[in-house]
């Protein structure tokens, strides 16, 4: 493996550690103002929704619906109806692999 790839790994580890440490260190133990706390509470749905659509509906830099899109949708339905995370993700894999095998 090239030394550039080791540099990539070290760089990623450094930026990740700094990002994760920034909030806890900079804010100390101070409580956040209620409005800020509300915004932070809403970051989870915003970021998770963005992660889901950019992975299930995107290939590179263009929109793309594929077998994985169907698999992820099935996982959503299963989880919505009370299925466990393992069942939801397992079915997503089976549906995705099955559709690819067929088509």
């Amino acid at each position: 493996m090239s030394s550039e790839l080791w540099l990539v790994i070290a760089g990623c580890a450094a930026v990740t550690a700094i990002i994760k440490a920034a909030g806890p260190v900079a804010l100390g133990g101070r409580e956040l103002p209620p409005r800020v706390a509300q915004v932070i509470g809403l970051l989870a749905p915003a970021l998770l929704a963005a992660l889901v659509v950019t992975q299930a509906l995107v290939d590179g830099t263009r929109l793309h619906m594929g077998a994985d899109t169907a698999g992820v949708a099935v996982a959503g339905i299963v989880a919505w109806r009370g299925g466990s995370v393992l069942r939801a993700v397992g079915l997503a894999v089976i549906v995705t692999a099955g559709l690819r095998a067929l088509g």
Binding site: E4, L7, V8, I9, G11, G23, V39, A46, S84, A92
Partner: protein
């Protein structure tokens, strides 16, 4: 703020040790899924030109799935170190607000707080959220600990033995990561505002995908959470319906 919400009394009342164990137990399903995701990462990292040891070291010291997948896809596409590290930083930028949210629930000096902040991963952070800006940190540590173990184990299996598995896409393994995030997302859609913000975040991300570099659409999508600056419209209606 201040008052502890009554939604999850067992974890809030529990001792640090009990919270840690509850967190570990809650983290197990995510740890199992994470192990399979890590296995996929190990396979793809080898394909992208990383050594098995390199893939394992990366999982050990980065421990952030979306960033790791972004990096290997950029490296596989011929991108340089700066582009890869920059994309990883953007992908992980969501840990900035997550860490800020967690900050009031941590204790100790700067170095200790920095170390505790390293335990934030998506599933643990979401599950340790007790609402109103409070987090159960020992629960978070426990949930992350089990996920770290399977993250390393899965990476090792994929990196050292992955060639025996075949193409991860044929096996449908690329659906695991988004499916996993979707399950986490569903828990955030309990109220109308969460649903509206999720829709907004998804729309922003999709609109930016054709024009922005990887990682940026997800980062900018976090702006949808600014809806929290406005007072809730649903609050009065909900109180009325309860009465």
């Amino acid at each position: 703020m201040g008052a502890t919400p009554p939604s999850t009394p067992p974890a809030d009342d529990a001792s640090p040790r009990a919270s840690f164990h509850l967190g570990m137990r809650a983290g197990v399903p995510y740890a199992i899924v994470g192990g399979v995701v890590a296995l996929t990462f190990g396979v793809l990292a080898r394909d992208a030109g990383f050594s098995a040891l390199g893939a394992l070291v990366m999982s050990a010291i980065v421990f952030a799935g979306s960033a790791q997948f972004t990096v290997i896809s950029i490296v596989a596409g011929g991108g340089g170190a700066a582009a890869a590290i920059g994309a990883a930083a953007l992908m992980n930028s969501r840990f900035l607000p997550m860490g800020a949210a967690l900050a009031p629930s941590l204790s100790g000096r700067s170095l200790q707080r920095a170390a505790q902040g390293q335990t934030v991963v998506d599933a643990s952070w979401a599950m340790a959220n007790r609402g109103e800006g409070r987090f159960d940190r020992h629960f978070l540590f426990g949930a992350s600990a089990v996920q770290y173990v399977t993250w390393l184990g899965g990476t090792a299996i994929g990196a050292f033995g992955g060639s025996a598995l075949g193409d991860p896409k044929t096996l449908g393994l690329d659906a695991i990561f988004p499916a996993f995030f979707l399950v986490l997302l569903l828990a955030e859609l309990r109220d109308g505002r969460g649903r509206a913000v999720a829709l907004g975040g998804a729309a922003i991300a999709l609109a930016l995908v054709p024009v922005a570099p990887p990682g940026v659409p997800v980062l900018v999508a976090s702006a949808a959470a600014l809806a929290g600056l406005w007072p809730r419209v649903g609050d009065k209606a909900r109180a009325d319906s309860v009465l």
